[in-house]
Symmetry: C2
Subunit: 210 residues, 2 copies
């Protein structure tokens, strides 16, 4: 089976899952933590080289306080959990904003844990406009300025929760990505969903726009 | 029914359609011209405000000469056909390259035809890197430089030919777009395919990443 080098994970549907289970919307995020570690372990086992999690975005921070608090805490916890694994961890997002959790500041430079074999990127307070906006002392040798330039091209994006959109996920790294949508909500993650996505991906041609 | 303001059309599958019909690959493109006008007329009737066609890209120009010649000619003809309708026409792409057809140079500034009610954008020799690459005298007031800045945010992207990817289509205008994939090839366009896409779109929430 032809595997992607780099998978982007959009773990959507936590709030809808919570509501379906009679919980408050903001209670959904912690139920996404276990799936996050599970998918890491499966990908590591398969030999996937790079994984990017869509944590939360600048757009998301406009939500009610109870929700922003809950998803921020879940992201901090997810990074803490991943730092117990064999992984190299990088957090990418606007860290000069008060919405960026200070606990994750050390991760804005890539850190290596255990054997550090697998590359993990975690988007936290990420904004596509922030990513693309140029700085003043633009090096004329670079074609464009990209704050997420340490993150490689994404081969396969898997989105849970049924929406068929990127919602601002890494616009440059996603230009050639194949999208796979899973209708179930992220807290209902099952290994078979990822395997279906990988099986589908292996049947796609890779043309990089050619 | 809640309609999108702006639809992006990725008319893929012309070559596969040609091969299936015992034709040479490059013969497929002219069979995409009639669908192009049909979809314009349906959208105009529905009151869609803006339509963007994915003509050809810088990436596509690496294909064999017979193909580049054929899809370039088809794009020139498509713009000519659209210029007989009530539409305002803008061609967006790298026009300083020899791959850009000189016949379309006058359209790199928006031109109005008939009542000029509907906004049509046609991407010709378009490249996402070209679009995003900054210029030297970057106005410090603009957040980022975008050569396609005259094209508005795309609400719905409809792709024919079964591939589930953007292939470099307007990365900035697509950050919040909903994607709808039709497995049939573009020359087999039917009104019902577009109507299915619009019905689906009308059931989606619009959060703009929020």
């Amino acid at each position: 089976m032809r595997l992607p080098n780099h998978i982007g994970i959009i773990p959507d549907g936590n709030r809808r899952w919570a509501v379906n289970h009679g919980l408050r919307k903001e209670a959904g995020y912690t139920w996404g933590l276990k799936p996050g570690i599970e998918i890491f372990k499966i990908c590591k086992e398969l030999g996937i080289k790079e994984l990017t999690y869509y944590g939360f975005t600048v757009d998301n921070t406009k939500r009610p306080k109870a929700q922003t608090k809950a998803f921020t805490a879940a992201c901090v916890e997810a990074v803490r959990m991943l730092s117990k694994e064999d992984a190299s961890l990088l957090v990418v997002g606007n860290s000069s904003s008060p919405m960026f959790p200070h606990e994750l500041l050390p991760f804005t430079k890539r850190k290596f844990f255990g054997k550090g074999t697998m590359k993990i990127n975690f988007l936290v307070n990420y904004g596509w406009e922030w990513d693309l906006s140029p700085v003043h002392n633009l090096d004329s040798n670079t074609k464009y300025y990209l704050k997420s330039s340490e993150i490689n091209r994404v081969d396969l994006i898997v989105r849970w929760g049924g929406r068929r959109r990127l919602s601002g996920f890494l616009p440059v790294q996603s230009v050639y990505s194949d999208f796979y949508i899973i209708d179930d909500y992220w807290p209902d993650f099952k290994k078979s969903q990822l395997m279906d996505a990988l099986n589908w991906y292996s049947t796609q041609d890779v043309t990089l726009g050619g």
